[in-house]
């Protein structure tokens, strides 16, 4: 969790320094992200992130510089290998990837490979038709999928109470015949336990679960956002005391915290170095990954592109 926090801070610093053009801070959501990510069985499960999931990447042990490469504008989906890291490419369509988790879970059910899928999404995403369709499909087919909603109070400038009619994403689950629970999203242990149990139940054929992790986005929506336009300092301060790192630190000795800080600093140093030294991808790659084999017309376009480069 400390790694996620320090990395988040570093990413914001890198954005200020002009290394990252933009970044979506996860501050405040580290417990929800890291602990749920750590609950996956990386041999079998698969996670479907949004664009604000650095903590999940930390929890799953994904190559963090490769993850942040997306924010460095190097490759939209990041540079990590989604297959071996069990984390789908970053996805910026709010709601859309939740359906992929459902499809993946059906795949796992069909061939008995036994893993479970976990879909990350926000309170804002819960309004999207795709999320409803995903829960309904998961309920009808009883698929091994965990819907992990980080209810961080805000979808950019819109607060949950003007986003989620009825007030609770978890409550939606029951109407699909799906298990659900709300968990304190700032309590890492509670998140870990809830996610672990839901994944296990899913793998064992117990069907889907909706977990609504109640948390708070302590920073701006993104580095170009100005929360002062839509929420008050009091609103922010009300949650400051519930900072997941403060909660976690209370369960640790001073030495443990110091060791964790040291570890985090070392990780961040390393990630920073790799990230900064990442090369921009060669322009050829514009054309390489559109199809498994480029079409004739695409090859012609690639040739034209190359001529301009050489000219």
């Amino acid at each position: 969790m400390l790694v996620a926090r320090r990395l988040d801070e570093e990413a914001i610093a890198l954005q200020r320094q002009g290394v990252l053009p933009a970044y979506a801070p996860a501050k405040g959501q580290e417990a929800a992200q890291v602990a749920s990510g750590a609950a996956l069985d990386l041999n079998r499960d698969f996670a479907f992130p949004t664009y604000r999931e650095v903590g999940v990447a930390v929890g799953m042990g994904v190559d963090l510089a490769a993850y942040l490469a997306s924010h460095r504008n190097i490759w939209h989906g990041g540079l990590y290998d989604p297959q071996s890291s069990r984390l789908a490419p970053l996805n910026a369509i709010v709601g859309g990837p939740v359906l992929h988790a459902v499809g993946w879970a059906m795949g796992a059910k069909l061939d008995g490979t036994g893993g479970a899928a976990i879909a990350y999404f926000g309170d804002g995403a819960s309004s999207q038709g795709d999320v409803h369709e995903a829960m309904n499909f998961a309920g009808v087919y009883r698929l091994p999928v965990v819907f992990f909603c980080q209810n961080n109070g805000w979808a950019i400038s819109v607060p949950t109470e003007r986003q989620v009619a009825g007030g609770s994403v978890a409550a939606r689950a029951a109407s699909y015949g799906i298990e659900s629970l709300r968990v304190d999203g700032n309590d890492a242990l509670a998140v870990f336990e809830a996610t672990r149990a839901a994944l296990e139940r899913a793998r064992e054929g117990g069907g889907p679960t909706v977990i609504e992790a109640m948390t708070y986005r302590m920073g701006p929506h993104s580095t170009s956002d100005d929360p002062g336009r839509y929420r008050t300092l009091e609103d922010e301060q009300a949650w400051a005391g519930r900072d997941p790192l403060v909660v976690a630190a209370q369960q640790l000795t001073a030495e443990e915290v110091a060791a964790a800080e040291e570890h985090a600093a070392a990780v961040v140093r390393e990630v920073r170095e790799s990230l900064v030294s990442l090369d921009v991808r060669p322009g050829e790659e514009l054309f390489s990954f559109v199809y498994r084999e480029p079409t004739k017309s695409l090859l012609a376009q690639q040739r034209a592109w190359k001529e301009h480069l050489d000219a």
Binding site: L99, G107, D130, F137, S288, F289, E293, K296
Partner: protein
């Protein structure tokens, strides 16, 4: 040799694809128990079981989103959307997800998905059941788009689409479902790569370019024109992405005149692309601008008015006449 309808040929193609590759999955609204509203999936559930051939709830975005997830897991999904007009709710999953996942993942994740889409007009159907979406899909990087015009073409192109490692939109021309042809689907044929067209009829005075049900209409036109001594070449474009630019250029280099025909509205239809490609490649050869005969820029009307909307034999003949009589102004 058996006589097969297009509908039966497609059904066989699905059956053989399922037999050859046990990662092939067939799903959609009413494709299982019912066998599809056009019966293209008839009998497949009985043959391959509920796991391989299944009905979905009524949600097109979910059908395509699920296909993406299944492909990420290593399956080879062949979803159906019941009618052309119902693919609009799934456009986000098709464009933003299916078409880009391979790219986004830097080639790690494959999307060997074939979306079967009963398409085009000509059966006097209710609203939204007679749409032509090829221009929309052909514009999207990462998609391939194909449409057969005969039963044998249907069989082989569908096998090819399913075997293709990339997402393919397979547009089935509804009014041709019951057209019959004698051919043996088990007989091996040379598989030409995506982006190859087919000369349906040779000619030398002008080339008619079409796909789907309009190919048969162009053959009719060619018959009629032949009575007047005008020999029209008819090109079945088949692949609407990638487009067979070489095939177009070869034909037009010979005939020097071209008419492109489609059911979709004129503006920003695929006819513009075909016209531009031909002109770019054959400017010196062309004796007249490429003519377009298309649906009008109006929503597909109700059945009683549909024939007035679709490119008619008459309208195509007029365009042929225009191109033949064209004099550089």
């Amino acid at each position: 040799m058996p006589e097969l309808s297009l509908q039966k040929a497609l059904n066989l193609a699905l059956q053989h694809a399922c037999e050859d590759d046990d990662r092939v999955l067939i799903f959609g609204e009413d494709v299982g128990t019912l066998g599809g509203v056009f019966r293209v999936t008839d009998g497949l559930r009985a043959k391959f079981g509920e796991d391989r051939v299944f009905d979905t709830p009524l949600a097109e975005s979910a059908i395509m989103g699920m296909a993406v997830g299944l492909a990420m897991h290593g399956w080879r999904p062949v979803p159906e959307i019941q009618f052309d007009g119902f693919s609009y709710p799934a456009v986000d999953q098709i464009v933003n997800q299916m078409a880009r996942m391979h790219y986004r993942s830097r080639g790690v994740l494959n999307m060997p998905i074939t979306l079967r889409l009963p398409s085009f007009g000509g059966i006097r159907a209710p609203e939204h059941h007679s749409e032509s979406l090829e221009a929309l899909f052909a514009h999207v990087p990462g998609l391939k788009v194909v449409s057969p015009s005969t039963p044998s073409e249907g069989y082989h192109l569908l096998r090819q689409a399913i075997a293709d490692p990339d997402p393919v939109i397979f547009l089935e021309p509804k009014p041709r479902y019951w057209q019959r042809e004698s051919f043996d689907p088990t007989e091996p044929v040379e598989v030409l790569p995506p982006g190859t067209s087919r000369v349906v009829r040779e000619g030398k005075h002008a080339t008619l370019i079409a796909w789907g049900a309009m190919v048969a209409r162009c053959e009719q036109v060619a018959e009629l024109a032949a009575e007047d001594g005008v020999e029209l070449e008819v090109l079945d474009l088949r692949w609407l992405k990638p487009i067979d630019t070489d095939g177009l250029a070869a034909s037009v280099a010979k005939t020097r005149r071209a008419v492109v025909i489609h059911e979709a509205p004129l503006t920003a239809g695929l006819g513009g692309e075909v016209s531009a490609l031909i002109t770019e490649r054959c400017f010196g050869d062309l004796r007249a601008p490429v003519q377009r005969v298309t649906g009008y820029d109006v929503p597909v009307p109700s059945g009683e008015l549909e024939e007035q909307y679709l490119p008619s034999v008459d309208r195509i003949l007029t365009a042929v006449q225009t191109t033949l009589e064209y004099r550089r102004g």
